[in-house]
Subunit: 694 residues, 2 copies
């Protein structure tokens, strides 16, 4: 390990005591001892049990104190009511990490949460990392360290590998261990954080990011209490070029409701998770199966250098299936150069050499034709990944034997290329392929989708991280309610350009202001008590002359007074109408988990009906702001669709930068900012209205 990390004593303890040790290897207090005995944990292991002198062949001690030597890690496996005393004793004995299996805490209600908080506070004071309570524990495969009662290990103990699992839920973690294990994935580290009284999944990702034994991380989250911590951990993994495949459940309203009844964790907005995970290059999996697919692929294969996929198949149909999925997955299918196509046809005259390469079924009768064509495809060197469909070849050892050595030779001769086989295969052949660094999938679409995931993950490692932005200390916001004029002044001060305006206290002042700025004008009521002016008749558009302004003033004030009798009406804002631009919306929200986020979308229905918006963690650089603009589906409206002039995207991006910096500078004072609309013009752009909520 490069340097010390607060979680080192969790994963790499010098000695372990099990408080509540059991002689029964199937009890919660017996399993860790049984697993470590079986696997050969080489460091001291102390069963603690006041009623036994020996447990599973080891000397047992009545209490931690009685061990008489330093105990590095204390596993607590006693009934819930005895946990506080056990933790107290571990602290007293200067344990360096504590893992509490026992349940009966926050998951049971307020009283349990209170006790849990006490335990956590005690460990925090003592500087001891606490895992759990209500967790199935930790293992570190290379050290044969099994501080866990995970039942799957009784029957399925795999040799060590390079994939780490960090999971809130022990049940999901165990299931992933089994599911991924079935696919040949092997594990370096495992931790289930349970109630997360102290150590959370983010901490564990952070530790795995610097763990030499771990090259890929699978993470499962139901909620997150500290978004900044998760963000930093994911950034660290990204910098270490370790793929993180993360599942965050509760995407749908239905799922979020189920999650809320199941966990007390705060749920940030789902779109915000998407933004954070994209920014940190974590792969967000939608299902356990997808998580296993991508982790399997990342731990089995090199990552591709780019999106170029070559497909070779004896069935044209499978080529089309792969091409369809490649389009979804962001992969390209470059056409092979004519001489390569000719070389393929020299072997099989009626083969299609374009890409997908359709060898025809002739290769089934004579497998050497297949391996010769495969050789040509590899030698071409223009593909970052090669997917070969081989029907049921892998179900017959005799058939597979015909291609084995040629296939493995090609694999070794082209170490930078991702190689995937889609076929039906025996478990033995599937496992063998994995050991050779060749991906195996029965379904060709899943193979293609997974290669697409690898390509995106690889590209994300090469994307420069958002540079840290130096933020100057900001003036606190003025006291009191923030009316539109104040919001405007603050945002203008932050750099956001606004449409010209004047504040009028009377109809006469309004008419004079309109004359000064030029017709047509907009009249908007000014009141600290009215957030949504147009809903109460407080906005008049397109007033064409002084008479219209005066008449508008009276009718508007009447309407607003009727709608909001208690509102203080301070006058009205007069602005010129802005013509010829595209309405956009910019916003900033303080996400309960991740803090200030900045949002961009096209205005009106595009936000409200199509939810066509994109988020980023604030502050953003100009480059990131430009990416946000490129991401919205309605982008063509800003780039000249339907005969509109192209909008000035530079001004738009700069306004997003300024807004994002404002949101960060006032992160503790501001709940949300909405600039709606910000009108993107062919040259420049202006905010027309702004709302700041504390």
């Amino acid at each position: 390990m490069a340097s010390s990390h607060p979680l080192d004593p969790v994963f790499n303890p010098a000695s372990i005591a099990v408080v509540g040790a059991s002689a029964d290897p199937r009890k919660i207090g017996g399993r860790p001892i049984a697993y470590m005995q079986r696997s050969g944990f080489s460091r001291p292991l102390y069963p603690i049990n006041p009623r036994q002198r020996e447990i599973q062949g080891l000397q047992a001690y009545p209490s931690l104190r009685d061990v008489g030597r330093p105990v590095d890690q204390v596993i607590v496996a006693v009934a819930g009511e005895h946990v506080p005393a056990a933790v107290e004793e571990a602290v007293a004995q200067q344990a360096r990490s504590i893992i509490v299996f026992s349940s009966g805490f926050a998951e049971m209600g307020d009283e349990g949460r209170r006790v849990q908080d006490q335990i956590a506070a005690r460990c925090r004071e003592a500087g001891i990392p606490l895992v759990g309570p209500n967790c199935i524990g930790v293992f570190s495969a290379r050290q044969a360290m099994y501080a866990t009662f995970m039942t799957a290990l009784e029957h399925e103990l795999f040799e060590p590998g390079s994939v780490g699992i960090a999971t809130q839920s022990g049940a999901i973690g165990s299931y992933l261990y089994g599911l991924a294990g079935d696919r040949g994935v092997r594990f370096s580290q495992f931790i289930a954080t349970g109630n997360e009284a102290a150590v959370d999944v983010a901490d564990c990702i952070d530790w795995m990011a610097q763990d030499d034994a771990t090259s890929v991380v699978m993470a499962y989250l139901e909620g997150c209490r500290d978004g900044e911590r998760l963000y930093r951990a994911l950034r660290r993994a990204q910098a270490a070029r370790k793929p993180v495949i993360l599942m965050k459940v509760g995407r749908s309203a239905q799922g979020a409701a189920a999650a809320a009844s199941h966990t007390g964790s705060l749920a940030g907005a789902d779109a915000v998770y998407d933004a954070i995970l994209r920014e940190t290059n974590a792969w967000r999996a939608d299902s356990l199966e997808e998580m296993v697919d991508v982790a399997y692929a990342c731990s089995t294969s090199v990552l591709p250098r780019g999106p170029r996929l070559g497909v070779i198949t004896p069935s044209g149909g499978v080529g089309v299936i792969a091409a369809d999925e490649a389009a979804r997955a962001g992969l390209t299918l470059p056409v092979l150069p004519p001489q390569t196509q000719q070389a393929i046809r020299d072997i099989i005259p009626f083969a299609s050499g374009v890409n997908p390469v359709d060898t025809t079924a002739q290769t089934v009768g004579d497998r050497s034709l297949y391996t010769r064509i495969l050789d040509i495809v590899f030698r071409h060197e223009g593909f970052d990944s090669v997917l070969s469909f081989n029907a049921s070849m892998g179900r017959s050892e005799a058939e597979f034997a015909k291609v084995r050595s040629a296939l493995y030779e090609l694999r070794r001769a082209h170490p930078q290329t991702v190689v995937a086989l889609s076929m039906r295969a025996t478990p033995e052949i599937a496992a063998e392929l994995g050991r050779e660094g060749i991906l195996y999938f029965a379904d060709p679409s899943r193979a293609t989708a997974t290669i697409g995931a690898l390509a995106r993950i690889a590209a994300g490692f090469d994307r420069p991280a958002e540079a840290a932005v130096a933020m100057q200390a900001a003036q606190p916001l003025p006291e009191g309610v923030l009316d539109e004029a104040t919001a405007r002044r603050l945002l203008e001060g932050a750099g956001v350009p606004f449409v010209g305006q004047a504040i009028a206290r009377s109809a006469d002042e309004a008419a004079a202001a309109a004359e000064a700025c030029g017709y047509p004008v907009v009249l908007k009521v000014l009141s600290p008590d009215i957030a949504h002016k147009s809903d109460v008749g407080g906005v008049l558009l397109g007033l064409k002359d002084a008479a219209a302004v005066r008449a508008g003033w009276s009718s508007m004030m009447d309407k607003v007074r009727t709608a909001c009798p208690a509102a203080r009406l301070e006058g009205a804002i007069v602005s010129p109408m802005v013509a010829g631009g595209v309405e956009t919306v910019m916003g900033a929200v303080r996400d309960p988990v991740f803090g200030p986020m900045v949002m961009f979308g096209l205005g009106g229905v595009f936000v409200e009906v199509f939810q066509d918006v994109t988020f980023r963690r604030a502050p953003v650089s100009l480059q990131t702001a430009r990416e946000m603009i490129q991401e919205v589906q309605g982008l063509p409206l800003l780039t000249g669709a339907r005969g509109k002039p192209k909008a000035d995207l530079g001004t738009l991006a700069q306004a997003l930068v300024d807004l994002s910096r404002f949101a960060v500078a006032h992160r503790d004072e501001v709940a949300s900012v909405e600039i709606n609309p910000f009108i993107a013009l062919p040259e420049g752009g202006v905010a027309v209205d702004a709302l700041i909520l504390r």
Copy 2:
């Protein structure tokens, strides 16, 4: 079989001859004989080979004629150049079906296509169904009829089942046979149609729809030459309540390009396939794996009565995963009534009885707690499907034995409920569950998605089919180019309401017309040679008085003449501006495969940028037209979003009906119709512009 069908002799021949029979059971001409001998085909089987007297224990004949008895089905397995003669002899011998394995026809180029067309014409004249050429053949499992050289059958010959496979590609069909077979799916019938010189996949679906042995159809298509035939076949399957799970590849541009280089079939627009398959209740699968999942589920389980899903799990996390996927799949998770929740908590105090039911891990230690809670969930009778997550229980026979009998009893006691288990399981336990009518999936998301598919398929069977619409013979369209005025007159005649208009031949006439209809007005150039008027400056909006109309006339005519010097300018159309409505687009296109289709979407960017449109086969009923309007994403704009008044959807729907009937009445004359915009108003609605292309 209920009544006779043209394909009966293909699937159920009274006798079979193999022309080009081989003594080698691994040769193409040897396999069908070997398979049928092994399986006990009980009807006469005649090997035809001029050089052998006996083949695989059967008497061989030098020619078909030499058999001396009627031969019902002739399999042709000779080299391509001998195929025409073999077909000729089969026709002469009055065969009732011909299956040509041999390749070397349309897939090889024009000469091959010519010969193929000759063979097909010969069979058509003689009234004999021809399967292939270039196909791997047909089997009918219950009759042990294996008129195929599919190599998978050598190693994996399953007992008969109820799933039919109809596939263009033999390779894909074989792979599906293996993939689905691995999941426990068993097959009634199989046919690969290869080059489809005569019999196509649609014919085979049609046959399977009336085949008593088949209850589920898997169909694989790369293209389709006769959309009407496919539509009728799918309708027939729908009427028979037989799920059809269909994969049509070439969804993406990339995939379509790959398909075009691989097959000569016409490709209809992909969105049109979506519309046709939705209308006929065929399930469109996106991958082979999804196809297998849904076919497996349809052939293993009853279909659910509705979308209500109950989830029971020892892990809250899996409940959230299922809830997320249920939202995507259109399933609901109704909350259990309080007394049911209480009954669950009486068994496990800290269980969550809401739904998902979280039993906590206590059920893992005592499986009887699980089966008791499961019983309560079933007795509640409020779920159409129940999904139970059981972690790795199915990997241990000892663990599974603890729940087996209670589970099967519940399954039998609630025969109308879909029951699915998500867990890791041994192949033996997975297969056993299938035999008991219980679905099994390792991945809980896939389990949920598949239950969602079943619910949608079931709902589709209950949806009334579009009533056949009596179409009156239409007057042929006028000769010559169809300018806007003509298009308008024709569509008005069909019932579509248009905005008022006058045709002006001069600036003075335009001004007079404008006075008559009221300002502001629109001026549009009238020319049979200009389709997109606004692109050439031929549309002026919002002219406010007679002077503006006169000035506009001159400037517009100048612009148009400069842009289109050769265009005949016949004058201009004068219409009042329509205010206060929502722009929609209606269209009709003649799909090359499926014929007239009607399209609806919101106008402008919603069509162009968001592709927010929906299609139906024309003509549509008022009910279907209303469904189309409900389907577009931008629907809120028509139902009062953003303070707009609600649009008159009845008028909108009626206009779609009228347009669709027009498109059908003129199906041979009209390539496309576009009404853009059709302005939906709070009361009524009007077409503003229309374009008809031949």
